[in-house]
């Protein structure tokens, strides 16, 4: 009896849910159509004066030749500074949720061998992208992403801390981006220019310094986000003797998360 009414109620609520999701779909389709019409009309109206021309015109004074890097680190440097702060805030949120999960087992020989090839390659490519960002596609974000990817791979191969240093050092690396950015801005203020208004002569080197710090901060933040919690403290961390014991035992081949052929 009760089970029957419960089943009927469940069926009725499922029906209501289906009606509701249909309604949502119709409303969103209408919204999409309206947006498309507006977008079409906006394109028909022709090109209004754009920032692009101004951006290209002023490019020689920015210290870089890649217009996107010029926008990110010169014209709209505030934007990038705040974006690094957002990344830092997100990581603080993740750390505040508690300690990290223990991570994966130590990898077998094949995966470990691959990791020892891929990770240095990723770091070198990151450095290349950072340098090339001045005049070609690339820059701090892409380079930082590669460093973060290297951290993810190291964690997948069994290092619970994704190759990152201890917590105190990690904190410094994480704030490096915001710190260098703000210090450069304030330094420029002291020397008479506006906050983050670079003099064209040294703009290139200031931008490079900021980008290097930002790359490290982004890479560490992304890898730490993948670790997913506060790094394990010194007492929880396996001691050197434990590590030796671990590596001395047979590699745990039966449970390694290596892809099957």
């Amino acid at each position: 009896m009760t089970s029957m009414t419960r089943a009927r109620r469940a069926a009725r609520s499922a029906e209501r849910n289906r009606d509701l999701s249909l309604l949502v779909a119709v409303l969103l389709a209408l919204l999409g159509a309206a947006l498309t019409v507006v977008y079409f009309m906006a394109l028909q109206a022709g090109a209004a004066p754009r920032l692009a021309d101004l951006a290209y015109e002023r490019l020689p004074g920015t210290g870089v030749q890649n217009p996107v890097t010029a926008v990110l680190l010169n014209y709209r440097a505030y934007d990038t500074l705040m974006e690094l702060a957002v990344l830092l805030a997100a990581l603080l949120g993740i750390w505040s949720l508690g300690p990290a999960a223990p991570g994966f087992q130590r990898s077998g020989a094949v995966l470990a061998g691959m990791v020892s090839w891929v990770v240095p390659l990723l770091i070198v490519t990151g450095g290349y992208l950072l340098w090339v960002g001045g005049y070609a596609p690339g820059g701090a974000f892409q380079a930082g992403a590669l460093l973060g990817a290297a951290g993810v791979i190291v964690r997948l191969a069994g290092d619970p801390r994704a190759g990152l240093p201890g917590e105190a050092a990690q904190r410094w690396l994480l704030v490096a981006g915001v710190l260098v950015f703000t210090l450069v801005g304030l330094g420029l203020m002291v020397f008479g220019a506006g906050f983050l208004t670079y003099p064209p002569k040294i703009a290139k080197w200031l931008i490079l310094a900021i980008e290097m710090a930002a790359t490290v901060a982004i890479g560490v933040a992304l890898a730490a986000a993948y670790v997913g919690g506060r790094p394990p403290g010194p007492q929880a961390r396996p001691t050197a003797e434990d590590e030796d014991a671990l590596s001395a035992t047979e590699p745990a081949a039966e449970n390694t998360p290596a892809p099957s052929p």
């Binding site: 996107v68 974000f141 973060g148 990817a149 993810v152 986000a225």
Partner: protein, 93 residues
């Protein structure tokens, strides 16, 4: 075929595949499959952005959006699968 029609066909293939991957990622109920499709979507999206002359953004999307975002989501999907297996073993109401 002229070059212009070829380019339009190319655009069409790019966009239809992009939308198909997006629909597939959103509609798939199985978490791991949805994440895989989302990664494929992100990589395809970076291809489309390279076509639109945005190589900087395409690089960032391939590395950050598809790569790192996908890795984070895969970890979450694994956790979800393990936890649902645990609850299925216990009392399922």
């Amino acid at each position: 075929m002229s070059q212009l029609t070829l380019l339009i066909v190319f655009d069409g293939v790019l966009l239809v595949t992009l939308l198909a991957l997006g629909f597939a990622a959103v509609l798939s109920p199985e978490p791991r499959r949805a994440v895989m499709l989302f990664i494929a979507f992100g990589l395809w999206l970076s291809l489309v952005w390279a076509r639109l002359k945005a190589p900087d953004v395409a690089l960032a999307e391939a590395a950050i959006g598809a790569g790192l975002g996908g890795a984070l989501m895969l970890a979450a999907a694994r956790r979800a699968a393990r936890s649902s297996a645990r609850t299925d073993g216990g009392d399922e109401t």
